[in-house]
């Protein structure tokens, strides 16, 4: 079967001036080499002719197993269909076998009698299935017995499928338990056959992994219903004119209707041998992919032996094609192929497999780290030599493959705790070590700051952590990367990092920690932010210190605080949360997440009247109206006529509750009632950072009390557990049990006392999830529950003071507190547009 496509298209330079490039082989290597050549302007230099002994365009051989299993049709796997050759002016002789070349007169002789001259030749003849010696492979006539298949080409695959689909064919034996054999077995199993895999080595995929990994893989393969026989050689195929079974070396027979031979591949070198080219295990090429001692003949792919290596994977082939194209086109004559480190990552029979380098330790000093969990089909083995990774096998879990491949390819130093090579232990801090983070690794995910940017800042003179953070804004988003930022800065400064004296200050402008600052404020009777700056800040007023001081003074002084609005952040000036487009979000109070028909109707009316672009339920069980312009805030509040929900401040935010005892058939305590009471009592209280609370009516914890700043859980027997220091945002932390009490009133007292202690002792912006572990839960229990310091009543009184001074800030709508309080600041120019939902 021969089809010849001659390109009708003449290119500008004309064929006469172009050299003749002939490619023998139209598989993945040959076609990829041509693509690389075309990408380097090869069409202008060459007229290109290709020979392929399969009568098709070029297809993805790796995907043949998917065609076998029926996951893909054969049309899906074509990389270059016949029209592609025409479009690129390539003459393709598909279904024509090149048999010999004359390298002196530079001609290719093919089995259709054609003689094709070349100036440059590329041999990409690939490889074929290896048929191991056994009896009964051939019919007396010399052809392969019906029912025996290789697994190499699309025709092999089509024939296997049609044979397997015949009604009475139920059993298949696959000879070979390597990559290809398992893929064939999986494909045949998927279309309903009973499959036995016979593998001569002691374990499956013996070329890619050691015996322990092979054992885990075997379990996974057997779980698919495939029988596996290892250490077992097939000695004969039984049956006269068609297959009826196979005989094994130990004398047992397996009955079957078809045999697939997947016992390895052999390079196709007949043409090269016949033509007098140097062939050892395969065609010998140099670092430019030129056949040894030949100036005009190149070879690429599985038919090639480079520095003693013959590759059977696709990645080396891609690398070879690039170097070859550089030389053939002359675009980069310094380009060299130095061999490939074969790290493979693939899916075999539905199991993820990654393998690189050694399968196991070889020297006495090699470290071998192994994790095996056969029931889940997970196996990991890593070989370390001189603190470098020299081999890895991963089965069933390839999450760390990218990192390990990098470590293997580049010989990166490894974490001291080797287990970090196999598993992600939380964030990449400490475990991965900053040294081996790549330069472009993103350290701060909020502000998109890379390791390189941070290092540049340090080398540019920012010798303190705070300085580097300030210069790059790393760690200035959610703050969860601060530890990693600190490590990168310390690493970049190479020990020369200056101790940052300001790290212990409550606010950057005043060189005092929080207790000392509070003492000074009390001693001097300071009552406003500007007075504090004047008295205590050496450099005077500081924008970044204002908000923290305002919060502190309000907490300390309650009603005696002299409120200067410029010290507030914009959110606190206008009692709403600023959004990316400069509009604001409005969240009315909805205590305990309980609402009413009247509230919902009013909210709906307001949203309609003000054309609110987005109405969103918050995580704290409230309703958020987004996209409100600043100048509209007073009217929106007036129309709502509901108190502020404080969804914008460093303050007590909300109490999330579950349905509770009244409706829930599991509820043991009245969580909704208690939640509403807590919210009524502590609404709007300022704090060093926001406070999110929850009350759950039973240990099922539907209000997620264990991950709240203060979380309450009703337990059987009318008791209540109080947890503190939980978080489920940028950080995840389960709260610590502060106390278990009998009385809901006691819950309110202890929660209030804890919050007051936190308000007085926590650093600015320090959430309870940092504060609680810093001071320790035992200490907190002593102080809050047992009153070991005798301050309980003072704390309670201070909290009561703050509660008494509460005023709904949304009442400011009637009369602005400052001129232009709600005046627009929105530029007339285009802002990032938030789409209307």
């Amino acid at each position: 079967m021969t089809s010849v496509l001659d390109s009708p298209r003449a290119t500008p330079s004309g064929p006469a001036t172009r050299r003749r490039l002939v490619v023998i082989g139209n598989g993945m290597a040959g076609a990829r080499a041509v693509e690389e050549i075309l990408a380097r302007g090869g069409a202008g230099q060459f007229t290109i002719t290709m020979f392929g002994d399969e009568p098709y365009g070029n297809y993805n051989r790796i995907m043949l197993s998917h065609v076998l299993s029926g996951e893909e049709s054969d049309a899906d796997i074509f990389l270059n269909s016949l029209p592609w050759y025409q479009e690129n002016g390539i003459t393709l002789h598909a279904g024509v076998k090149a048999e010999r070349i004359d390298r002196f007169t530079k001609h290719v002789f093919s089995n259709d009698g054609r003689v094709t001259p070349y100036d440059t030749l590329i041999i990409a003849t690939g490889s074929r299935s290896h048929m191991p010696p056994m009896d009964g492979l051939y019919t007396p006539g010399g052809s392969i017995k019906q029912g025996i298949f290789g697994f190499r080409t699309i025709d092999d695959t089509r024939k296997m499928v049609s044979h397997a689909r015949q009604e009475h064919h139920r059993r298949a034996v696959v000879i070979g338990g390597g990559l290809l054999g398992l893929e064939a077995a999986h494909g045949l199993r998927s279309i309903g056959l009973e499959v036995d895999v016979v593998h001569s080595a002691g374990h499956l995929m013996s070329a890619q992994m050691g015996p322990d990994g092979g054992a885990v893989l075997r379990r996974s393969v057997e779980a698919l219903g495939i029988r596996v026989l290892t250490g077992s050689r097939t000695t004969a195929v039984l049956g006269n004119d068609r297959v009826t079974g196979v005989s094994l070396r130990d004398g047992t027979d397996i009955a079957c209707d078809m045999v697939v031979v997947a016992a390895g591949i052999r390079p196709n070198v007949d043409l090269a041998v016949l033509s007098g080219l140097p062939v050892e295990r395969a065609i010998v090429v140099d670092d430019r992919l030129r056949v040894q001692d030949e100036d005009h003949i190149y070879a690429v792919g599985e038919c090639v032996q480079h520095r003693g290596e013959v590759y059977g994977l696709v990645a080396p082939l891609w690398e070879q094609a690039v170097v070859l194209a550089n030389h053939v086109t002359g675009t980069d004559t310094s380009s060299l192929y130095l061999g490939s480190r074969t790290a493979t990552k693939l899916k075999v029979a539905g199991v993820e497999v990654a393998s690189m380098g050694l399968h196991g330790p070889e020297l006495e000093t090699d470290e071998h780290i192994v994790f095996s969990e056969p029931s889940r089909g997970v196996f990991k083995s890593i070989v370390v030599r001189n603190n470098k990774m020299v081999g890895a096998t991963l089965l069933g879990d390839s999450r760390k493959v990218a990192y390990l491949t990098q470590a293997y390819d580049r010989g990166l130093p490894l974490p001291e705790e080797r287990i970090g090579l196999m598993f992600d232990l939380g964030t990449p801090d400490g475990d991965t070590g900053v040294a081996e983070l790549s330069d472009d690794a993103q350290v701060c995910n909020c502000n998109g700051v890379s390791k390189r940017t941070l290092v540049d800042a340090v080398q540019g003179g920012c010798a303190t952590v705070a300085g580097a953070m300030e210069a790059t804004r790393a760690g200035k988003g959610c703050g969860s990367c601060k530890l990693l930022v600190r490590q990168v800065v310390e690493w970049a400064a190479d020990g020369a990092v200056e101790e940052d004296p300001a790290a212990g200050y409550y606010v950057p402008a005043i060189p005092l920690d929080k207790p000392a600052l509070m003492a000074e404020i009390r001693k001097r009777g300071l009552r406003s932010v500007s007075a504090v700056f004047q008295a205590l800040a050496p450099g005077g007023e500081d924008a970044r210190s204002k908000m923290g001081l305002a919060s502190l003074l309000k907490m300390m002084l309650a009603e005696r605080y002299i409120d200067e609005r410029d010290a507030r952040f914009i959110n606190d000036r206008v009692h709403a949360n600023i959004q990316r487009d400069g509009t604001f979000s409005v969240v009315p109070q909805m205590k305990g997440g309980v609402t009413s028909v009247e509230q919902l109707r009013r909210i709906a009316d307001v949203a309609e009247k003000h054309n609110v672009p987005l109405i969103k339920l918050t995580g704290g069980q409230r309703i958020d109206l987004l996209g409100i312009r600043k100048e509209d805030l007073p009217q929106v509040w007036a129309d709502l006529d509901m108190p502020s929900g404080y969804a914008y401040g460093k303050s007590f935010r909300t109490v999330k509750t579950c349905v509770g005892r009244d409706f829930c058939r599991y509820g043991t305590g009245d969580s909704t009632k208690l939640g509403i009471e807590i919210e009524s009592r502590f609404q709007g209280i300022e704090a060093p950072a926001k406070l999110k609370l929850a009350v759950s009516g039973c240990p099922r914890n539907c209000a997620e009390s264990l991950v709240k700043d203060v979380g309450v859980v009703a337990v059987e027997g009318g008791r209540w557990e109080i947890y503190v220091g939980g978080a489920a945002g940028a950080h995840i932390r389960k709260g610590d049990l502060l106390a278990t009490v009998d009385d809901p009133e006691e819950v309110k007292v202890l929660a209030g006392r804890f919050m007051q202690y936190y308000r007085e002792r926590a650093n600015w912006l320090e959430r309870t999830y940092s504060f609680v572990p810093r001071v320790g839960i035992e200490h907190l229990r002593d102080v809050i529950v047992s009153d070991s310091e005798g301050i309980a009543s003072r704390l309670d009184a201070a909290m009561q003071d703050s509660i008494d001074s509460y005023e709904d800030p949304w009442k400011e709508r009637a009369e602005p507190v400052t001129p232009g309080q709600f005046r627009t600041s929105l530029p007339l120019t285009v802002l990032p547009q938030v789409p209307v939902q």
Partner: protein, 111 residues
């Protein structure tokens, strides 16, 4: 409202200085654009373009001291006198702003 001065700058009178509380900023529409005018706690005035060059944040809503304004969206800071960012954002060109005898804000915009 505006007058062409010999200096090559256009002058805009923006109304009474008391529109801006001490220590805060307010935005003014000027000549098709917007300018953020700040009234520092020492009584002096500064003016910058109203839009943060980083992500378009409203600088008039920022927090200020005698030296810088900090944008409310992502905390980029800009020197109020020079417009230079101290946090690595693009720089801004400051405007000249003063008061006249009636204590009206007077802004100079280069032509």
């Amino acid at each position: 409202m505006s007058a062409e001065a010999a200096t090559g700058a256009q002058t805009f009178v923006l109304g009474p200085v008391e529109q801006i509380p001490l220590g805060e900023g307010r935005a003014f529409a000027v000549d098709g654009g917007q300018v953020a005018v700040f009234r520092l706690r020492d009584g002096s005035l500064r003016a910058l373009p109203a839009v943060c060059p980083h992500r378009g944040g409203p600088l008039a809503d920022g927090t200020i001291d005698l030296g810088v304004v900090v944008c409310p969206l992502h905390q980029h800071a800009f020197d109020l006198a020079t417009g230079c960012s101290t946090t690595g954002a693009d720089n801004l060109s400051p405007y000249e702003v003063s008061t006249d005898e009636q204590r009206n804000l007077v802004l100079q915009v280069p032509v």
